[in-house]
């Protein structure tokens, strides 16, 4: 064993230029995999966080069927808050949500009205932080006639801050509901669709407009971590069983994001396979050259009694050592690359105008490094580069000694 290690290690230093080239192949392969995966993961995280913090939260509770068909009649009286108290939940807000016709002096447009508890909504979503002009909603009586409007909706309704907006809809009892509110603030959430269609008002105003009384359309939860969602969902389903409610995770509320992430992960896997093949072929080429030059040496080794398995072990170990050196070099290159990308980010809007819809106004993506990805990428690069050497190693080991010795 020691002989194999000694021979393999010394052969690594034998042709410094070729060894450096091989190490670089491993290094670049690793850096490409880790950095591309980190950027993908950063992009996914941004998509999910923005979706959660812009509007949907980590979990939503509705009357059964509301998510599929959000009609006014699907509402519910919220359960006591002590029933909703869970250690993983950091914030909770009630909402009334309905479709409405918004009218101004100039024009009319279909909108989504969201009745919110302003302070609690600010804990669950970034609504308060998304205010670009005017003032946020308060909880006092003087705020009952106030509303916030999405920035693009302001433009399409040709509204100015402070102007009145009239909302028409269907009340709970089926009659026509109407309310007037004054625009006190403009929001830019970062999601163009929300900015184009949303009006926020105090929940009490929305309940009064629809004749809901204590009823609401949804409860929105924010958990400490995304990983807490399944456990919280299970517990809520248990606690609220039989109440005619549906408890949905963000993945169920926004399956398109999940599908996009899954598609990206599939693309990541394909990219990983392609990079591994390129690394493997490049390594195999350099190993073939290295072995070709040493056929006579292998012949002499076989002549003096070295078994084919021992020759294979030397060559595979040599490849493995080069791989380890490549990983070390790759780690350095990767770190430098990640530091740069983390500092500067990658602005995706240069590539696609539609990307804002997915990740919000801030279209700069920064890498998200996950230890599991780094370990998997390292193993993939190391193993593909090492295992591919078995082909030239088998060839060298099974040459007849005479054939190898004559190969001068």
């Amino acid at each position: 064993m020691l002989l194999v290690l000694k021979l393999a290690w010394r052969n690594v230093h034998r042709n410094t230029r070729r060894s450096i080239l091989t190490v670089l192949i491993f290094a670049v392969g690793l850096a490409t995999l880790v950095i591309s995966n980190a950027l993908y993961d950063g992009f996914h995280e941004k998509m999910v966080i923005n979706a959660v913090r812009i509007f949907i939260g980590h979990l939503q509770v509705h009357a059964e069927g509301f998510h599929a068909n959000p009609t006014v009649d699907k509402c519910f009286v919220p359960p006591p808050e002590k029933n909703l108290d869970l250690p993983q939940v950091t914030a909770l807000a009630r909402r009334v949500r309905f479709q409405s016709l918004a009218s101004t002096a100039a024009t009319s447009q279909g909108v989504m009205v969201v009745g919110i508890e302003p302070e609690r909504e600010a804990q669950v979503t970034n609504l308060k932080r998304s205010l670009v002009s005017g003032t946020y909603l308060g909880s006092g009586a003087e705020d009952l006639q106030s509303c916030l409007v999405g920035e693009r909706l302001m433009e399409s309704l040709r509204l100015e801050p402070g102007e009145k907006l009239v909302l028409f809809g269907q009340a709970y009892d089926g009659s026509i509901a109407a309310a007037a509110c004054r625009v006190t603030g403009v929001c830019r959430t970062g999601n163009p669709e929300i900015d184009r269609s949303c009006v926020w008002m105090p929940i009490a105003s929305a309940q009064e407009m629809l004749g809901y009384g204590e009823r609401i359309s949804e409860l929105v939860f924010l958990t400490r971590r995304a990983g807490d969602v399944p456990a919280v969902q299970r517990e809520l389903k248990h606690r609220l069983a039989g109440a005619g409610l549906e408890i949905l995770s963000w993945k169920e509320v926004a399956p398109d994001i999940v599908q996009l992430v899954e598609l990206d992960i599939a693309m990541q896997t394909v990219l990983m396979i392609i990079i591994s093949i390129i690394v493997a072929l490049a390594i195999m080429n350099t190993m073939l050259m290295a072995i070709q030059e040493r056929f006579t040496e292998f012949g002499v080794m076989a002549a003096i009694g070295t078994r084919p398995g021992q020759i294979i072990a030397v060559l595979m170990t040599e490849s493995f050592f080069l791989g380890l050196l490549g990983l070390a070099a790759g780690a350095l290159v990767t770190m430098l690359g990640l530091i740069y990308l983390f500092w500067h980010g990658v602005n995706l809007s240069a590539f696609s105008a539609g990307v804002m819809k997915l990740i919000g106004m801030d279209t700069t993506v920064r890498p998200l490094v996950q230890l599991k990805q780094v370990v998997v990428s390292s193993l993939v690069v190391l193993l593909s580069g090492t295992l591919v050497s078995i082909l030239p190693a088998l060839r060298a080991a099974h040459l007849e000694p005479v054939e190898a010795i004559r190969h001068i």
Partner: protein, 223 residues
């Protein structure tokens, strides 16, 4: 020691070459035999057959009572490890190992313990006046020194038979004479059987028995 009966070896090709053609040869224990002949006479092929590097297409070979004709690659490798030492014309040594490690290589393959390995290597290096060169790698040794290291490696594992294929071909006359003298001394002192191929007349004169080859057949013998 060696019994070769009616062995032949044919290399296939557009024009098949009968490198060894129905040859029979016996080599006694402890003998120093020289194979002589011009290029293409079959010396190297015969050495390869006797050393288990190739298998004859017909005939039989026995070494030290062991029938090796039908051995597979693994069995032949084992035979070479334990019973046969080799000295080639050139490129004998493993470049990344120094002289000591090259000599020690076969002992490592045999699984000899470290203390015994050290003792035997030191002994043979001293005997062949290589002690001062032990830490040098082959590229830092002259051709003559490299061949002496090759002799040391062939001898250190205590083989029954040493096969040497024109070991002096790339040496000047002084080094060539010294090398052959060294091999004669080892043959005499250790009783190891040596079969050497050469076309050097001067060297043939210093050896006990010379078998002449031509076109793969024995044409004569002198003692």
């Amino acid at each position: 020691m060696i019994i070769a009966e009616n062995i032949s070896r044919v290399y296939d090709g557009v024009f098949p070459v009968r490198a060894v053609d129905g040859l029979s040869l016996e080599v006694a224990d402890g003998e120093f035999l020289c194979l002589a002949g011009p290029s293409g006479s079959g010396k190297t092929t015969l050495l390869h057959l006797l050393g288990g590097l190739e298998r004859p297409d017909s005939g039989r070979i026995a070494i030290d009572g062991e029938e090796i004709t039908g051995y597979n690659q693994r069995q032949r490798a084992r035979l070479r490890l334990w019973k046969i030492g080799f000295i080639f014309q050139e490129l004998n040594l493993i470049p990344v190992l120094n002289a000591r490690e090259n000599v020690e290589y076969g002992l490592l393959l045999q699984g000899v313990v470290a203390s015994e390995r050290r003792r035997r290597v030191d002994e043979i290096l001293a005997e062949l006046d290589l002690a001062g060169l032990a830490e040098r790698r082959p590229r830092a040794l002259s051709r003559g020194q490299q061949q002496r290291v090759a002799v040391a490696r062939a001898m250190v594992s205590r083989p029954k038979l040493v096969i040497a294929d024109e070991p002096t071909a790339n040496l000047d006359s002084h080094n060539a004479e010294n090398l052959v003298e060294l091999m004669r001394r080892l043959n005499r002192d250790r009783g190891v059987t040596i079969v050497m191929a050469t076309h050097d007349q001067q060297i043939m004169k210093r050896v006990g028995r010379v078998v002449s080859l031509r076109d793969g057949q024995i044409t004569g013998e002198t003692k």
